[in-house]
């Protein structure tokens, strides 16, 4: 009698345990390292989200031009004196950014699920 009562519960137990373990393992192991990559183009008063298709994005009022090519992005032109954004070069990894602080324009690689939560620059 006793074993008859325990037995079905045990089967159900194992089924539940197995299901939970499989799902959690799958979630842990297959967290995409990046997910979908997008570019955030920040300028005063506006943030645009664009893909990585080859394109050139001019910001005439801010005096900068951003280029997207071969899955990377960079500033090709900026009228600020320090030129830090242009010298940053290409960015492509999750969280990477090129910033033109004087003109308040930036390009940021934004990922759905990144392995890195922040980059210290």
């Amino acid at each position: 009698m006793k074993s008859d009562r325990v037995h079905p519960v045990r089967l159900l137990d194992w089924a539940v345990i197995a299901a939970l373990l499989i799902i959690s393992a799958a979630t842990v192991l297959f967290v995409p390292t990046g997910g979908e990559r997008r570019l955030l183009l920040l300028s005063p008063g506006e943030t645009r989200t664009v893909g990585f298709e080859d394109a050139v994005y001019p910001f005439p009022e801010e005096g900068v031009i951003i280029e997207v090519k071969d899955g990377r992005a960079r500033f090709i032109e900026a009228d600020c004196p320090d030129q830090v954004c242009v010298k940053t070069g290409w960015v492509s990894s999750c969280g990477q950014a090129a910033i033109c602080a004087p003109n308040r324009v930036a390009v940021v690689v934004s990922c759905e699920e990144a392995a890195i939560d922040a980059i210290a620059e």
Partner: protein, 321 residues
């Protein structure tokens, strides 16, 4: 008895599996990226705390305006006038004094008179003449400031700029705000001044350090749990002279010249203000001095020398993945 124990075992296993399941699923986080504090800022909080992230952006603007106003009030005041200031500014002056002492007077917020003459922070830039340097030299002297808990007096002409650690202080204020609004897990990155609160769905926050010479790889990746990280780099604010020399934005108040000891210095500390300030203070020190001071201050350090040598001090390795 045996089956009872087994039932307990099963319940325990189910509980464990359920916990793993919850941990794996975790909380969903959203990152808000915007311009604030003169740089790019990102605030990562649980999706449910989106309002609090909005509050942080507002707080950044308010605090920056406050610091700017405090500095302007002192910088614009005539010599000998007692300028009333808020406790927050006295706190910043105390931090300035602490960092000055730590570096044997190489760190000094009154070096602003000099950096301003070079055109920092945003240009146009130029190298100053030796005559100009001689003229400015007496103004680089923190002891020209006298202060009580409520007032600041300039004893002689002097100008201050707390940019080396005020951003970190503002990030700490933002974390206080988040905690007060019930947020337990968050990550703030204000142009490389980073503070972690709690963790990300049960795992520590993962932070990469930018490599000074390439975007292709990182200088390192660390785990950060309830602490702060700040980095000073020679790629941040600089200009190049006609003969190709790189003039970086960190100046040594003793030599009155740009300090070019390092390519990159990263510091982990309990508060972002401390990490931020020490990233500049250590920049002004030799490797041997950093090693001594970081042990006293309990702050792990990662530094890359001009020749590309990477050095780890005071337990940095234990943070690495």
């Amino acid at each position: 008895m045996r089956s009872l124990r087994r039932t307990h075992l099963h319940h325990g296993l189910i509980l464990l599996a359920a916990l793993l399941f919850l941990t794996a699923c975790g909380e969903k986080f959203d990152t808000r990226t915007t311009y604030a504090l003169g740089t790019l800022v990102s605030i990562t909080v649980p999706s449910s705390a989106d309002d609090a992230a909005g509050g942080v952006v507002q707080l950044f603007t308010e605090k920056q305006r406050q610091v700017d106003a405090w500095e302007a009030a002192v910088n614009d005041a005539p010599v000998g006038k007692a300028v009333p200031v808020e406790p927050g500014f006295i706190h910043l002056l105390e931090t300035a004094k602490y960092l000055r002492n730590l570096t044997g007077n190489r760190f000094d917020i009154t070096v602003f008179a000099l950096t301003r003459a070079y055109g920092f922070p945003e240009g146009p830039f130029r190298e100053i003449t030796e005559e100009e340097r001689t003229d400015i030299a007496p103004m680089v002297d923190f002891t020209r400031l006298a202060y009580t808990r409520t007032h600041v007096v300039k004893k002689a002409p002097v100008a201050v700029h707390t940019g080396a650690f005020a951003k970190g202080w503002i990030v700490d204020e933002a974390v206080r705000y988040l905690k007060a609004h019930g947020v337990e897990h968050a990550l703030i990155n204000a142009g490389g001044d980073i503070r972690a609160l709690g963790n990300k769905s049960g795992r520590p926050w993962r932070i990469a350090i930018r490599h000074p010479d390439t975007n292709e790889r990182y200088l390192g990746v660390i785990r950060l749990d309830n602490r702060s990280l700040a980095t000073s780099g020679d790629y941040e604010r600089f200009f190049e002279t006609d003969d190709g020399r790189r003039i970086t934005h960190i100046f040594d108040a003793k030599t009155l010249a740009p300090a070019d000891n390092w390519k990159s210095v990263s510091v982990v500390a309990d508060t972002c203000e401390k990490a931020d300030g020490l990233a500049t203070a250590y920049w002004l020190m030799s490797a041997a001095s950093i090693e001594t001071v970081c042990a006293e201050e309990h702050t792990p350090v990662l530094a890359m020398a001009k020749d590309g040598t990477v050095m780890r001090f005071c337990g940095w390795e234990s943070l690495e993945e």
